[in-house]
Symmetry: C2
Subunit: 322 residues, 2 copies
């Protein structure tokens, strides 16, 4: 009795990724003990070929990005990783080598981030490959970081640098010149979930989230959740040297940097007196954090101020002074 190719594929590529609770991917479901005294944190993100990643991205980085964008949601809640389930709906004719590379990338990140696969499903589609991952993490009750809770007067902070992912996508599309080190493309393909930082700041910040859809839009979410506004200074937003170089040559890239998405940095609001402890937490997590503005009274809107102190109008879909 021979099994359909689906089972051989799972046995060859995905079973080696299975860990505690996965029942060797041979049962109908996984069986998991949640550590006592911890709350479960759960998120799911999908990635579609040609939409969330480029068809010629290396399969290793596609697997790792799928895991990392989900880990970033755990980071945003201050949670620690526990495990994941994954459904891979593969474009018909996907070569076995591609699946091997995809699984290899997952294996590397499983080791780096300390989690294993619990279960999932594999199928084929006549359309583009469609990947979906559900991540499980845990948090100590009371130590969870939520989106709501920011107050007027709070500082607004971000981790790392902003805009690299969005610029990296444009580099990979041939729309922008590559930087020598390939830093921007690397940041697009391999976001860095800020797990240690998220856990470190969870009790210090009043509100937080990860930046996945663009800094300004995501800060708008924090504003709506808090019922107040936010002001940020464009010049204060931390940029990598590669992004600085591109932006120095072409200021019209500002919308890409501040609105382009794919950052997977943490964005959070905290009382001014939390500054010291926040900087200590960031130092322990070895991730730079930068104060870029503050929460203000008023309607839930984000205003961005240019280097000249004048507001930059986002409403026209681009960057232009009033």
């Amino acid at each position: 009795m021979t099994l359909p190719p689906e089972f051989a594929l799972i046995a060859r590529h995905f079973r080696p990724l299975a860990g505690h609770g996965a029942l060797d991917l041979s049962d109908d479901a996984a069986l998991l003990d949640v550590p006592p005294g911890r709350q479960l944190v759960l998120a799911a993100d999908a990635m579609v070929e040609g939409v969330h990643y480029l068809p010629d991205d290396p399969p290793e980085t596609i697997g790792r990005k799928l895991l990392r964008v989900n880990l970033s949601d755990l980071a945003a809640m201050g949670a620690a990783p526990l495990g994941y389930l994954m459904t891979t709906v593969l474009a018909r004719g996907t070569p076995d080598d591609w699946i091997a590379g995809f699984a290899q990338g997952l294996a590397e990140d499983q080791r780096d981030f300390g989690l294993t696969v619990l279960g999932g499903d594999t199928a084929a589609t006549p359309g583009p490959t469609c990947l979906s991952l559900t991540i499980l993490g845990t948090v100590q009750p009371g130590a969870v970081l939520r989106r709501g809770g920011a107050r007027p007067g709070d500082d607004v902070w971000v981790s790392g640098t902003i805009g690299d992912g969005a610029l990296g996508l444009r580099v990979l599309r041939g729309e922008l010149p590559d930087d020598a080190a390939g830093h921007l493309a690397h940041r697009y393909r391999l976001p860095q979930p800020r797990l240690a930082l998220g856990q470190g700041i969870a009790r210090l910040a009043r509100a937080g989230m990860d930046v996945s859809d663009g800094l300004v839009q995501d800060l708008g979410h924090l504003c709506r959740a808090a019922g107040c506004g936010a002001e940020i200074e464009a010049a204060a937003v931390p940029l990598s040297s590669a992004a600085q170089k591109l932006l120095g040559a072409n200021l019209a890239l500002l919308p890409t940097v501040l609105g382009g998405g794919d950052d997977y940095e943490l964005l959070f609001a905290a009382a001014p007196e939390a500054q010291g402890p926040l900087r200590e937490a960031a130092s322990r997590a070895d991730v730079p954090i930068t104060r870029i503005g503050r929460m203000v009274s008023g309607p839930p809107a984000v205003s961005v101020t240019g280097a000249d102190g004048q507001a930059i109008n986002l409403a026209r879909g681009g960057w232009s002074h009033f």
Copy 2:
């Protein structure tokens, strides 16, 4: 500041499905307390338009089927539903009406099965719609039903009737005549997860799973997990009257019935002395169960015996006597 259509879609259609732990689908992740003293059971299944459902299936039944095939995995483990996460990657141009119907179907089944959505993701694809759902359930430690553990001499049982889903698909494709009541198409579109039965038999059966890929193939999984074989009698396999009628007119449909999949019934092995308690559990769950054969010593293979007592050969990909 206007939000992208994705957020409006989630707010309009999916937020009403959110319950405890979902944080109103407004945070980066869900936050869940697992009931004390329970183990978590987790599974994920994907459904692709044109592969797992027909493009012209009603969106209400597509949503319900997505939930039910996952609930069936919980049933197979003897678990009770807790919640789910879902990613909907919709074909570009999917009408709002379709999404409303899809969500309406989910809402109905959420009420019927006692669970709510915890989180997920929504995106668009140039290909066919690709749906993925991760289900969470809980089980009392020690009361979980696993695939391994069957022994030679155990009875092999199934719940409900077999073959309706596979025949229903062929009816919907116009390959077979419709039954007057539309029973077969209904069974294809709306499988019935056997949750109460699964929980009732978990401590009585030695091994169990749900039948999703076809009775014979899935029984092969039980065999491999147990390291023994199984013999079933074709005439003992329970059929609906609609299936009986089609099969009576055309015996060549036997492979569709026994190998076609989409049954979502429970298949389990139990010691002969468990027969009485199993029948009581089935009666309490109000689901018929039928003994169709037994586990036997030998290699992990399934043999099917015809009404004439002779073995039916599956190896040729169809049904033919040796």
